[in-house]
């Protein structure tokens, strides 16, 4: 593969090649949070990653969103090695091409919904910067919060806060939306409504969506579901996901336990390469 020096435009394809992330421990040892992760996410694709707590999901999302860097392997954005990008360039690309939705919403406290949604546009340039308030209002109207423009997060319900967060993540029309447990702090119905909204918007904008979730019913909505276990990424087939979703109905099982289990045992420890591997792609 020929490596271009600079992406021609907004990020399209995301490609992880044998990515590893090792962190130092206080006792002098180290921990491999991610090991040999291979992943290709095509433009417009919806990918879900499931895994138990501490399995490395957030680290994977941080690396994809240019918030963290791998300690081994390569992360290629449209063929450009992210390691070659300067901090400033990474920040610019993060702002221009990625949107984030967090489990705890992470809205800026005491700012109105409009100010929250406009805040990413403070880091934009040109017209987008100067028209940020108008764009924020339009974005809020798209998520059905046109009547809550001046409400501060403290006065919004959980569902409304997450919708504000979705509006904020999409206000710069990113090419990739990274959602970390987007329904984790919401009840089932509200979570489903937020996911419907999120999927409608990303589909309309042609945005790539990478979702991390414990909720297999949320994961099942993706084109492709991957499982992260002990830092190793493996694909899940449709049957695996369906089975796991059905298992959720069994009494005495918590969502955390559900996700911690390997429903079908498929791919565990196999370290299946998703890059160029049809098994790893949505079918």
């Amino acid at each position: 593969m020929s490596v271009r020096r600079r992406p021609a435009g907004p990020v399209g394809e995301l490609r992880l090649e044998q990515v590893g992330r090792r962190v130092a421990l206080p006792d002098g040892g180290h921990l491999d949070v991610l090991t040999g992760v291979d992943l290709v996410v095509e433009p417009g694709e919806h990918v879900a990653v499931v895994g138990r707590s501490g399995s490395g999901k957030s680290t994977l999302l941080n690396i994809l969103g240019l918030l963290d860097t791998p300690t081994s392997g390569r992360y290629l954005l449209d063929g450009v090695d992210a390691a070659r990008l300067s901090d400033r360039r990474r920040a610019r690309m993060r702002g221009d091409s990625f949107g984030f939705v967090f489990q705890q919403f992470n809205l800026l406290p005491r700012r109105t919904a409009t100010e929250n949604v406009a805040s990413p546009l403070l880091y934009a340039r040109g017209r987008a910067f100067w028209t940020r308030t108008r764009r924020a209002r339009e974005s809020l109207e798209r998520v059905g919060l046109g009547h809550r423009l001046e409400a501060v997060p403290e006065r919004l319900s959980g569902g409304e806060q997450q919708r504000v967060a979705v509006a904020r993540a999409l206000v710069r029309r990113p090419r990739v939306l990274l959602a970390d447990e987007p329904t984790g702090a919401l009840d089932v119905d509200t979570g489903a409504a937020v996911m419907d909204l999120l999927e409608d918007l990303v589909t309309a904008q042609g945005t790539t969506l990478v979702t991390i979730t414990h909720d297999l019913s949320v994961a099942a909505r993706a084109d492709r579901v991957l499982r992260l276990d002990h830092g190793v990424l493996t694909p899940m087939g449709e049957q695996d996901v369906a089975g796991a979703t059905a298992d959720r109905q069994e009494p005495g099982t918590t969502p955390a336990e559900e996700s911690a289990e390997d429903p079908a045992g498929a791919g565990r420890g196999a370290g299946v390469a998703c890059v160029g591997d049809p098994v790893g792609r949505a079918s």
């Binding site: 969103g65 920040a91 610019r92 690309m93 967090f102 800026l108 406290p109 403070l122 880091y123």
Partner: protein, 399 residues
Amino acid sequence: MTGLVGVLAEAWGEVRVHRVRVLLSLVGVFLAVLALTTVTALGAMGRQLVTEQSERFGGRPATVLVEAYPETGSLDRPAARAAFDEFVDRHEIRWSTAGGYGLQAPVRFPGGAQRVQLVPVDPAYGVIHRVVVSQGRWFGEDDAQRLAPPLVVNQAFVDALGGSSGLPPPTVVLGGTTPVTAVVVGVADDGWDVPSGFLLEESAERWMPDLLATSSISLELWVPPEDVDAVQQMAQSELGSAVPGASMSIYRSDSGDSMQVLDLVLAYGVRGAGLFALLLGGIGVLNVGLVTVRQRIREIGVRRSFGATSSRVFAAVLLESVVATTLAGLAAVVVSVAVVTNLPLGMLAGAGLSLTDVPAFPVRAAVEGLVAAVAVGALAGVVPAVMAVRARVVDAIRY
């Protein structure tokens, strides 16, 4: 452009959202800038007050006083006056007044005659000595032509005349060898309760030559301070032996450099104390900044996810502090201007003082206060800004 506006908008947003915290942290800075600018302004006013009081006695800077004393018997005043006039004309000195020490002139008040000190002057005396006329007017150039000698007297003189309604001008008989009715044209109060006043040198020469004969004559020259040495030397060489039988005394009579100490105190003492207070205020800002930046690490992480660069985060946190202290400085300057420009200066008259040329609010003090506030804001903002930049984004966000 958008970067600069963006970082300012971000900083302003933080200040606005956290206004209570910001206000509390800024009390010290506000008070320090207020004290710095107000004390400097009051100092300038006090200096002007002292200066004007001093100038009422010794003349404005630089005033050269030439005094001619009779060595024996009486002084040849016409010769001295002619020499003075020639000197003033030759050197084109604009402001000069010839006269002498007060004459003890008999004045016939309604309550009886009494000797009153009348100081012979030229009209320029009023300018050189900053005479403040509370009623009527000071002498004009054409007053020398009046047949009835004009007088400018103090309030005690007016009271001895039985009070003044202003119109028509009160008259009084000066009872010298040739009694004459004089007209009081103005009142310049000196705070004393003994009648006194000024009359023109020409009037004194015409109506009271016998009283003048044994007194000295003086010439006051208001010249640029840089010329004072040259004027003294010329006066010494040209007037020293110009009047036969008279000895000349020539010296600078204004307070001259005596204000230097006061200036130094104002320049360094007040400023130093103000800056020290400002630094203490800055420590308060720093403290609050350090505490709150820890609380805001998550928010900073979220902003990093929006694409904020390290330099942008640094600038935003730094500018929060700078914007806040600048606003505090501005508010302090506004309050200071309001206080200083609304001082009841009229109350000075009750203490026998007056301020003729009220100094304008010292713009320099205001600018210095503002610059110092900005600098303290920057100093107090650096450490929190460094902390904000050093925070690891992934830790800050904590998915």
